[in-house]
Symmetry: C2
Subunit: 455 residues, 2 copies
């Protein structure tokens, strides 16, 4: 249930500052014990889970499959991937504190672990754990694991400069000739996601092969860059070129959005990688008739790896959305979908309000169980809503004012008349005006169903 | 898409061994680089996500709200909680590798972090970050974070003896007189979950106050134990007493299930705690009229903390379910819900099979997009299914044999006749006999809708 304390909403100056709104809406907090690692309160976790759930649903049709991979890996893995040397300052080291490991011959460097700053090495292990034929490629893994990077503490702040964060991380293992199709699909995915959140005005930037110290053949680079250019051209959007600005292991496409102050923020990245598959000795089986067949490695070919994230950091994306919506969350992802205000505190009104909240929320009659009967579990296809209740002794107009400040999508009022009529009064002066006629009809239909079926 | 290689299914001897089944069904794997930390392949991740999604839905009606908390905390937090001393051997220590932290005055013990073995200290920080009135209690947090415990490596195996695992962890902060209601609700939740997974034959064990060295008043212990006993009596199930076997900080209830070999496994635990709230100085506001009001601490009272998990370790619960179902997953959580087999490899049949797979899976027409039109995102209320495709050159009977071995819930066949009739042939000799008439009707209805709406 909602906190009953009236708090001061963010002032006009910072009402679009995600930190002020995040605090006011109880989205997240921080602690001296975990610098750079925000703690998400229930409301913030609700929004993050909706973002993850949204992507998870899309993954089905984009051919990504989610995996769940370790948080720490032995130092020897990070030596293979190159992170132990090249990424040294940004990594945390992990060690067992007891003597338990040493007794098993695990002494020495292998008792030292790295806390993962990215998922790619783990996904390479997964790819390598199974046999792959050229017919099964591309293989696409997605992962929402928490990641840790030891950023300088002076730069830590809120949700945008952090040491622990989550990515909607994805890795595609594909054949060289599949690059264009995968890039086109990734760019289409980006477009769909940005449209969904009203962030259409992003820009695309292509970074190409550095002059020297690159790895991989010139032929593969040229083919890869040509495929990226073609996929970019096909989007119909303008894009810019950062010539020579790619990583030594592959070209990349950055997707950047502009905030209200005009500053660009990096969101999605699509990064080609010809390095990690070699370092991990990844391979797939290929027949002599296929174009990538190489007589020097008969039957085997090395996949191209594409790192890609759409949201990028979920924490940073959340910060952008808080400002984008100024705290007025779309109904589907809102942590405050509805609230019921009681006109008074009489027992009949309070009890009826509680029952109404449970009905609208979609709960089965949980309260009535006496221990002898076991309630039926809710199914994931049952639609449920977050419904708060304000039965405090404050005046209705105070409650109403607070509910509007807290930006509840729907406000219901329950009084004696509603108990008599077995109904609920819907606030039509609140957030409802922003709904279309069809949405209001749907809501009325929904309420009617709930009151009919679950009485 | 499914791997096309025919593999040998587990022999009759170990067909109920979760490790053999887990490997055969591509659920998880392991790596030398992450001892005790299994890597979940897409199929295993699918099942784990279904388990989490199931609980998440129930949480709404049990008043739990999910939170997202850090993975590492400074050593000083673990000193407050007592873990740094009492849990020393089982914890991992984390340190930054670069010099970044030191320049900021963060040298010394506070540059040392503990990798969390449990969520309770983080949840205490969350509770403490906000003001709470007695009216708002109980506050219930849920968390699915990965946890790390430095188990002796000799004891590591599969999913049951691990160093990294996930719990359906929950912490309830309540008033002393609310214990009984919370325990009753937790026991009801356990009953509902165990019923859902066919694990009804569990036993309940109450462990009570040790003779000496306990903390908290005798009065609070007696009241708490009486409330636990009453809640246990109200379940109508027999329960046993482990007198004096409780922790020094509170009594607990264990829920243990018996496997086919007769061995008991610990699943759910409900543990009372009078220690952590004191160590963290947690409090809530209480008025003079309330029974727990103490004139020595005017206006303030200390909440009771209840740790509780229903599944316990998700990894161990998964192992139990693999054996419980012998790999025949219920449709709703199955990683292999359906497969379409082609009768031959002609272009028309393969293309029609692909289209049919997308239809049954519930995808919008993604393949048809040319970059100019952006596909609509799927909504989380769209029902989607995992549909594999076997268009390999093997004979239909070989494909069929393999699909049955892999325990697909539904097997569809597509040939020339189906292309002509714009239909799909449902295998009625496969897994369907286990479905009720109503389920078969629902399936037919579903297929009809998909073919009508999305043609
Ligand atoms: Zn990566
Ligand atoms: Zn706990």
């Amino acid at each position: 249930t909602a906190s009953k304390t009236l708090r001061r909403p963010p002032s006009a100056d910072n009402e679009t500052d995600y930190r002020a709104l995040g605090t006011f809406q109880d989205l997240f907090t921080s602690s001296l014990y975990s610098p750079g690692s925000p703690l998400f309160l229930p409301n913030g976790t609700h929004v993050i889970n909706k973002l993850i759930g949204f992507l998870r649903t899309q993954y089905l049709q984009y051919g990504f499959r989610e995996v769940l991979t370790p948080t720490i890996y032995k130092r020897s893995l990070w030596e293979i991937s190159g992170h132990w040397v090249n990424y040294k300052d940004d990594m945390y080291e992990v060690r067992g504190r007891g003597a338990t490991g040493e007794a098993e011959g695990e002494v020495g460097e292998d008792e030292s672990y790295g806390l993962k700053p990215m998922n790619c090495p783990g996904h390479c292990l997964l790819f390598k754990s199974q046999k792959h034929s050229f017919r099964e490629l591309p293989v696409r893994y997605a992962d929402f694991s928490p990641l840790h990077r030891n950023e300088v503490s002076g730069s830590l702040s809120g949700l945008t400069r952090v040491r622990r964060f989550h990515q909607d991380d994805g890795h595609i293992f594909c054949r060289p000739q599949q690059i264009k199709g995968e890039i086109a699909s990734a760019l289409g995915f980006v477009e769909m996601v940005m449209n969904t959140f009203g962030l259409q005005s992003y820009r695309l930037v292509l970074s190409t092969r550095p002059e020297k110290d690159f790895i991989g053949s010139l032929e593969l680079w040229n083919s890869a860059e040509a495929q990226l250019r073609e996929a970019l051209d096909n989007t119909g959007r303008p894009w810019t070129l950062n010539k020579g600005d790619g990583a030594f292991y592959g070209p990349k496409i950055d997707i950047q959005i502009q905030d209200k102050a005009g500053k660009y923020h990096q969101l999605s990245t699509i990064q080609l990688d010809m390095n990690l598959p070699q370092r991990f000795g990844l391979e797939y089986q290929v027949s002599e008739r296929e174009p990538e067949y190489n007589p020097e490695t008969p039957g085997k070919a090395t996949p191209v790896l594409i790192h890609r994230a759409i949201f990028g950091s979920l924490e940073r994306f959340l910060a952008i959305l808080i400002e984008q919506y100024a705290g007025r969350w779309p109904f589907w992802m809102s942590p405050r979908q509805a609230i019921i205000l009681t006109v008074n505190r009489t027992e009949e009104v309070v009890r009826y309000a509680e029952m109404t909240a449970a009905k609208i929320a979609g709960f089965r009659a949980l309260q009535q169980t006496d221990g002898a009967t076991v309630p039926k579990p809710l199914s994931s296809v049952d639609s449920t809503f977050v419904v708060d209740l304000d039965t405090s002794s404050q005046t209705l107009s105070k409650k109403y004012q607070r509910a509007k400040q807290m930006k509840y999508n729907l406000i219901f009022v329950v009084g004696h008349k509603d108990v008599q009529g077995q109904q609920v009064t819907v606030d039509v002066t609140g957030q409802l005006p922003s709904m279309s006629d069809q949405q209001v009809l749907d809501l009325e239909e929904l309420l009617e169903t709930r009151f009919r079926d679950q009485a």
